[in-house]
Structure formats: structure tokens, C-alpha cells
């Protein structure tokens, strides 16, 4: 089949920066240090690097090579990339994950991205000047409550969301060159801002100590983050956390890497590109990500506060307050750098999410990039507005759980199965090494065949049957003693039945709380229906494309 898709990357550096930008996200700065603190400190790096070697790099090689393989046949998204690798009609519908996940994740991810835009704006106009820590934290609640306005602009959160989505749509309508330009500007700025803030984190020392918190010390935060607690290495929870972190930080299992790599020619390198982009993401995460939030927070609020409060919310609810301790001007500059780097981390990822849908519609229906970009923007808007309007009713978290967590693992597991056992590891290895500008250690061939699929299965099963309290050793002891396996409410099985919300509802006595929980269950169910509808809709489009291909093939044979 001939595709109307004749786009190309401008330069190799542009491609690597776009790929690295796709991987680098808010999690590099917010999720990684928290995971390290909660899972053995410095010792967390051992399972983290082991998983990077045995799962992260192999998945990068699989996705880059299958993407380039698909591009050779004019396929720029996963439905027909998988279809070209495996016989049988079924696999193109597995490939639907590679479009669905991106639209569903973009729907709520653009909302987080719009917060960073709004917080840059508020840092510049001095919204946080003179506010207490509690007031800065409360500001976030006011912002995400669409009925309140922090600037006097009505429905401010929606307006920033629409501006952010509009910006993404416009850049996508410029095609790969637009994406590449943003990566070429955004990634160096992100690293520059990150280095400046990390240097501040390292040099803060005890200068942030006050009468109220006399023992505040930035080095306590760094010390706590990096001190290895080797006893944690025997806990399966720590290994699962490390595998999960590697998985999500590299943006594997989404279909975006395939799409970007599909614009490469078969003689061009993918191996060195994959290693370069992967290690750039690791640089941002391990070197910069660990040196900003935790030391700065420990430097002003003390280590005990960090231990009790480390989490995603610190970025928006705590950092603006901490920056205020540097004086009005420096606080504004630091706010622009911090939220600016988060914005660049976000937009380089959200742009990648638009490309699989656009690639598919261009390949199959000859759409131009503007039609592809605007239709993506519209789909994201329809799916995303509920996350904005019903943020406090769990819609955002529901999208994140099914599309941003479970679907990635499921798709990565299935694509690895196709690559190793259907496409064949020998053909796969040839795809990886063809045109390579480096000698890829043959070690990875065996890792891809014998370790990565089982590691992915381990991650999936670990999420499916997470034991109560994530206490794996206790759960195995209970099982061996004939006491069964008690599931945690965070496990996929319990999540399906909304066990947590139903337990809260059963325990609630206050009428207002009961009404709120019932509303949550209702809206979460609606969110699931929307996600299901999207999956069915994309599958239908894939089916229409399949019929169209059949008709064209028949015409060509006549």
C-alpha cells in the first residue's frame, strides 16, 4: 500500500531530542525522587538500573526497530505496524492501543500541562508573593475548582486548558518539523533550567533554616534520598516500583516511539539513536530530577516534612512557596524556570501523543496533517473536558489508571510477544542491528528473548494481584499457610469493581459524604464508558481502513 505520508525528520539531533522529549515528562522530576525515597533510598538505584538494562533498553530497541520496519511499508502507527509483523486480523486491533492510549493520556496530560502554563503566568504576576505555605497549597485547590477564579477570569482552568490544547494542535498541524523545532528549543532550555535549579538545591545547605524549623538542611534531603537501605532489596515491592518507574519514564508501551521511528529509512541507524535518547532521559531523571524538589523542600521545611509529604502535589502546592524565600524577583525567575521546565517536559510528550493518530489517518485515508491535528485536538477536547470539569470526582485519576498505567503494560507485553515469538527474535535482531552506528551487544538479543517478556509479565501480574498493603512476603506466607491471598484495593482486580470507593461508601455515615461518593462512582463509570467508546471507535476506524485496503487490493488485482 502507498501512503500519502511523506514527512521526514529534519536532522538526527532533532529526532533524538524529540524522542528524548517524548520520554522526559513531569515524572522525571516528581515521580522518580519520591519512588526512590519510598523504596530504599540509594539502594533503589540497583533494581532501577537492572530494570533499565533488562526491560527499558530492550523495549526501546523493540519499539524503535518495529517502528522503522512499519515505516518501510508506509505504516506510521501501531495497528498496521503490528499487522505487518504478524499474520491474522487480530493484531491490528491490539495495535489500537497505540492510538487509544495517546488520545486518552493526552486528554488529562494536557490539563497538567495547562497548570504549568498557568503557574508560569502566576509566578510572573506575583500571585504567590506574601502567601503562607497553606495559602499556596490552597491556591491549587481554588485553581482546579472551575467554579472559582484566581485571576478574575471566569473558568480560568478551562481557558488555560483550551489554550494549551490549541497550542499543541497548532504545532502538530505544522507536522514533524513543528514537533522537532519545539524539541530543539524545549529540551536544551529544560536542561538549562534544571541545572540552575539543581545547583541551587545543592548549594542551599542550612541557609533556609528558620526559628520555626531550625534543623532544615538541603543536604539532609540529598543524604536521605541517596543513603542505600540494602535490606529493601529483598522486598518485591521495591523491584516492582523500580520496574514501574523505568517503564513509565521511558514512555514505552504507548505507540509514540514506533510512530517517530517510522519516519526513518531502513539503512539509517536506530540502535545508537535509541541508546542516546534513553540515556538523555536517564540524565534528566537521575541527575537533575533527584537534585531539585527534595533538597529544596528539605532546605526550608526539614527532612521530617519531606518524609511525610513527598509526592506529586509538591510541584504545585509547595514549590511556589519555597521560591518566595528567595525574594520577589528571584522567586518569579525560579517560578518561570521550574514551571517552564515542567511545561517543556509536558509539551514534548503531549506532541508525541498526537502523531500516531495523525500518522494513521494520513496513511489510511490520505488526510493532510492539518485535518489530522485538528481532529486529534477535537477528540482530546471532548475526552479531556470531563477531567477539567470533574477533576475532584476521580475522572482524571481514572484516565491515568487505565490509559496511563494498565494499557501501557498490556501493550508492551503483547508487542514483545509479537516481536519475539511471531515476528521472530532472529528477524527482530536483524532489524535492530541493520544500519546501526554502534555494535549492539548480543547480550540484548538473549535478554529480549528470555528476560524482558517475563519481567513484563511480572510487572503485569504484580499490578493485577497486588496483595493487601503491598506486603508480598506476608501474602506469600498467608497463601502457604492456607489463608488465601488478600488483594489490595490498588490491584487491577479490585480497581475493576471500584472496591475502594464502595468500601468508603459502606463506611460513610454523613449524608454529604455519601452523596459525594455516589457522585464519584457515577462520574468514574461515565469516564470508563468514554474510554471504552473511544477504543471501540478507533477499532471501527481501523476496520474501515482494513476494508478500504481490501477493496484497493482487489481493484489492483483486476
Amino acid at each position: 500500500m502507498t501512503s500519502a505520508n511523506n514527512e521526514a525528520w529534519g536532522s538526527r539531533i532533532g529526532l533524538i531530542l524529540a524522542m528524548a522529549g517524548n520520554a522526559v515528562g513531569l515524572g522525571n522530576f516528581l515521580r522518580f525522587p519520591v519512588q526512590a525515597i519510598q523504596n530504599g533510598g540509594g539502594a533503589f538505584l540497583i533494581p532501577y538500573f537492572v530494570c533499565f538494562l533488562l526491560m527499558g533498553i530492550p523495549l526501546l530497541l523493540i519499539e524503535w526497530s518495529t517502528g522503522r520496519f512499519g515505516g518501510k511499508n508506509g505504516n506510521h502507527s501501531t495497528p498496521y505496524i503490528l499487522d505487518s509483523m504478524a499474520s491474522g486480523r487480530f493484531w491490528k486491533y491490539v495495535g489500537v492501543f497505540g492510538i487509544w492510549t495517546n488520545i486518552a493520556v493526552a486528554a488529562y496530560y494536557c490539563y497538567i500541562e495547562s497548570w504549568t502554563m498557568a503557574y508560569v503566568f502566576h509566578s510572573v504576576i506575583g500571585t504567590f508573593v506574601g502567601k503562607t505555605q497553606a495559602e499556596v497549597a490552597a491556591f491549587f485547590g481554588s485553581y482546579t475548582d472551575v467554579m472559582q477564579s484566581t485571576t478574575g477570569i471566569p473558568y480560568e482552568a478551562i481557558i488555560f486548558y483550551v489554550i494549551c490544547l490549541g497550542l499543541n494542535t497548532y504545532i502538530l498541524s505544522r507536522g514533524l518539523s513543528g514537533v522537532e523545532k519545539v524539541a530543539k528549543v524545549g529540551m536544551p532550555l529544560l536542561i538549562l533550567f534544571g541545572v540552575i535549579l539543581a545547583l541551587r538545591g545543592i548549594t542551599l545547605g542550612t541557609s533556609g533554616a528558620t526559628e520555626a524549623i531550625p534543623n532544615a538542611n538541603a543536604w539532609d534531603g540529598i543524604n536521605f534520598l541517596w543513603t542505600p537501605q540494602f535490606s529493601s532489596l529483598t522486598d518485591p515491592k521495591v523491584w516492582l516500583a523500580a520496574a514501574g518507574q523505568i517503564f513509565f519514564t521511558l514512555s514505552v508501551g504507548m505507540g509514540t516511539i514506533h510512530c517517530y521511528a517510522a519516519y526513518l529509512k531502513s539503512k539509517d541507524d536506530i540502535a545508537l539513536n535509541a541508546f542516546s535518547a534513553g540515556f538523555m532521559n536517564e540524565f534528566v531523571e537521575v541527575v537533575l530530577g533527584s537534585m531539585i524538589v527534595i533538597p529544596i523542600a528539605a532546605g526550608y521545611l526539614g527532612l521530617d516534612w519531606v518524609k511525610a509529604n513527598a509526592g506529586f502535589g509538591m510541584a504545585f502546592q509547595t514549590m511556589p512557596y519555597l521560591f518566595q524565600q528567595w525574594g520577589t524577583v528571584l522567586a518569579a525567575i525560579a517560578g518561570v524556570m521550574w514551571f517552564g521546565l515542567l511545561f517543556f517536559a509536558g509539551i514534548t510528550s503531549s506532541l508525541a501523543m498526537g502523531t500516531p493518530w495523525m500518522g494513521f489517518m494520513t496513511d489510511e485515508f490520505g488526510w493532510n496533517r492539518k485535518s489530522g491535528a485538528y481532529s486529534f485536538g477535537l477528540l482530546v477536547l471532548i475526552l479531556g473536558l470531563p477531567t477539567v470539569l470533574l477533576f475532584n470526582y476521580g475522572v482524571f485519576d481514572e484516565y491515568d489508571y487505565w490509559a496511563g498505567t494498565v494499557a501501557l503494560v498490556v501493550f508492551a507485553l503483547l508487542e514483545t510477544f509479537v516481536f519475539v515469538w511471531i515476528f521472530g527474535i532472529n528477524r527482530g535482531w536483524q532489524e535492530i542491528t541493520t544500519g546501526a552506528d554502534m555494535k549492539v551487544p548480543v547480550f540484548f538479543k538473549y535478554v529480549i528473548k528470555y528476560i524482558t517478556p517475563y519481567l513484563l509479565l511480572f510487572v503485569f501480574l504484580g499490578s493485577l494481584i497486588t496483595p493487601k498493603g503491598k506486603d508480598w512476603s506476608g501474602a506469600f506466607n498467608n497463601l502457604l499457610n492456607g489463608n488465601g491471598w488478600a488483594l489490595d484495593n490498588a490491584s487491577i482486580i479490585k480497581q475493576i469493581g471500584l472496591a475502594d470507593l464502595h468500601e468508603q461508601l459502606a463506611a460513610a455515615t454523613d449524608a454529604a459524604v455519601i452523596a459525594n461518593l455516589e457522585d464519584k462512582i457515577f462520574y468514574v463509570t461515565i469516564a470508563r464508558l468514554l474510554l471504552l467508546l473511544l477504543f471501540v471507535g478507533i477499532s471501527a476506524v481501523v476496520y474501515i481502513a482494513y476494508k478500504k485496503r481490501l477493496t484497493e487490493r482487489l481493484k489492483n488485482n483486476l
Partner: protein, 47 residues
């Protein structure tokens, strides 16, 4: 900062920085492939 934390930090960050720098150096110093290649910016350059 205690010694074990310092060693872990230097080792982890050192490994990551060294590999990142090595792969980027390799990308920058590897000669371009002959046309037609995947990249549009060098299409008009003489070979």
C-alpha cells in the same frame, strides 16, 4: 552527608553522565549516511 550516600550518588550519576556523554559524542562524530537518508535538512548538501 554520609559516605555510603555520597558513593551511591557519585556512582549512579557518574555512570549516567558518562554513558549519556559517550552516546552523544558518538552521534555527533559518526559520519552521515549517503543520500537518500532519513533527514531533510541535509538534502541540499553536496556529497
Amino acid at each position: 552527608m554520609n559516605t555510603s550516600a555520597l558513593i551511591t550518588l557519585l556512582l549512579a550519576q557518574g555512570i549516567v553522565i558518562a554513558f549519556t556523554a559517550y552516546f552523544f559524542w558518538k552521534v555527533l562524530t559518526t559520519p552521515q549516511k549517503s543520500e537518500p537518508d532519513s533527514y531533510a535538512d541535509n538534502d541540499n548538501q553536496a556529497r
